[in-house]
Subunit: 148 residues, 4 copies
């Protein structure tokens, strides 16, 4: 039922708009069921998201801004286990007025284990209110957009 | 912008179909931004979900079944801080063929800090495949259903 | 073998020099063995330590100082389980030149589950070096000292 | 003050009795102070310990045994930061009647960030009591012993 295979993964990460972030799973990531606890997937999504923003988004934003996470949604596709690694592919799916939506796929042991979406809002450090994405930032980010 | 106030919360938890689960926030729940890390909200959702299932769902299910989480979605409404508590209201929103969808609202310091949805699938311990919710279970759970 | 019983606990917490901090255990605190993961005990110790410092130590320290943890040692006495609570008793055992040593006992389900020791160093925010505990602070803290 | 340098580290890990375990730090590992929370060091110690036992100890033990952790002690030597990695060196320091003591050094960003000791007890799965280390196991483990 999990139709996304290694070929699909290779095609996905060959796309330069997609950033891959690697995590090493920890014994402590497992729960009572002997598999990765669902909260760890949130942590892996965050690893990918922070990595993506640091490398591809923040350099194009004014210094007096920061991000808050407004929404996360994760679809669990398969169990993941320690010992092992997780590879998280992250890309930009949508640019709103002050927000950005990223999509993510997480692979572990050559299997798709989760798909996720995250919405972040650019905030003004002074007013603590949403900060409209400037035109120059938008121009720099638009080439990174990729359909789900 | 956060229109859900203490009156709405009191009305919500007065509904017997809604279960409230209490958590105490920990210093370690905070991240570099000095507020609760987003992954902690997943943990709070899980606290509420596990509590709800243990008390209201599992007693109506055959013994050879268990739950897996298929999807979580969290909308962040406000920051939450240590020291403090979190109260998570959980209720059943939808019964599928083998799945249940719960909705949740999390309050901290008298403020709505997150809304969440979780989809769980009943699994057969032997076949490790989805297990159709039996009629008797369905009859026991239907009175618990509550619209979003 | 675990000789510390409820009577000993009651006597301990009747001592005003001892601060009790309450935590609610979370499903996510358990690991693959179906009991609290050892790292959670560190988190419980930190809950107690931060609570103790916030209430009893920091008010007596100059504003330009902060604490770093220099050492923790935990002896595990019994397993702890979800659902349940943990009560952490914390007291001051020793005052050094720039450091404080606290001792802790953690109870869960009316059983001693861990004993711990933590050494914290007072630091100067400006120089980022150890800050000698001032005489006035020492005078305020000495009455709180309690032998292991 | 932190006298253990890269040369010492290289010499340490050149010793075949020492096992190095790698972890990738996560954004979520940081706390309010912008550095790795102390509980994460416990998780890193566990990563190293579990890795060591899985590879070097468990293969020499009867199948009806398991380990429990009886004690951990961690001395914090320097702050560690995200993004980055942690390398944990683990070796066997002492064999007791039913227990093993390991020592660990954790490096991050080419700096010694922590030293740790962990005591594990071999348990009998049936009786849930300490299981004396068999002579054959002892003979296999003794060559791995290394002074602190």
């Amino acid at each position: 039922m999990n139709m996304f295979g290694m070929d699909d993964w290779q095609a996905l990460i060959a796309d330069e708009r997609v950033l891959v972030t690697r995590d090493i799973l920890r014994y402590n990531d497992m729960d009572d069921n002997g598999h990765l606890n669902n909260s760890v997937f949130t942590v892996l999504c965050e690893s990918g998201r922070v990595d993506y923003f640091r490398k591809r988004v923040t350099p194009h934003l004014p210094g007096n801004t920061f991000f808050v996470i407004a929404r996360i949604a994760i679809d669990f596709k398969a169990e993941a286990f320690y010992p092992g690694e997780a590879l998280t592919a992250t890309w930009l799916e949508h640019l709103g007025r002050s927000s950005l939506r990223v999509r993510q796929k997480i692979m572990s042991a050559d299997k798709l284990v989760a798909e996720a979406e995250g919405v972040c809002v650019v905030m003004d450090q002074t007013t603590r209110k949403p900060f409209p994405i400037p035109d120059a930032t938008r121009a720099a980010l638009e080439p990174l957009l990729r359909e789900g």
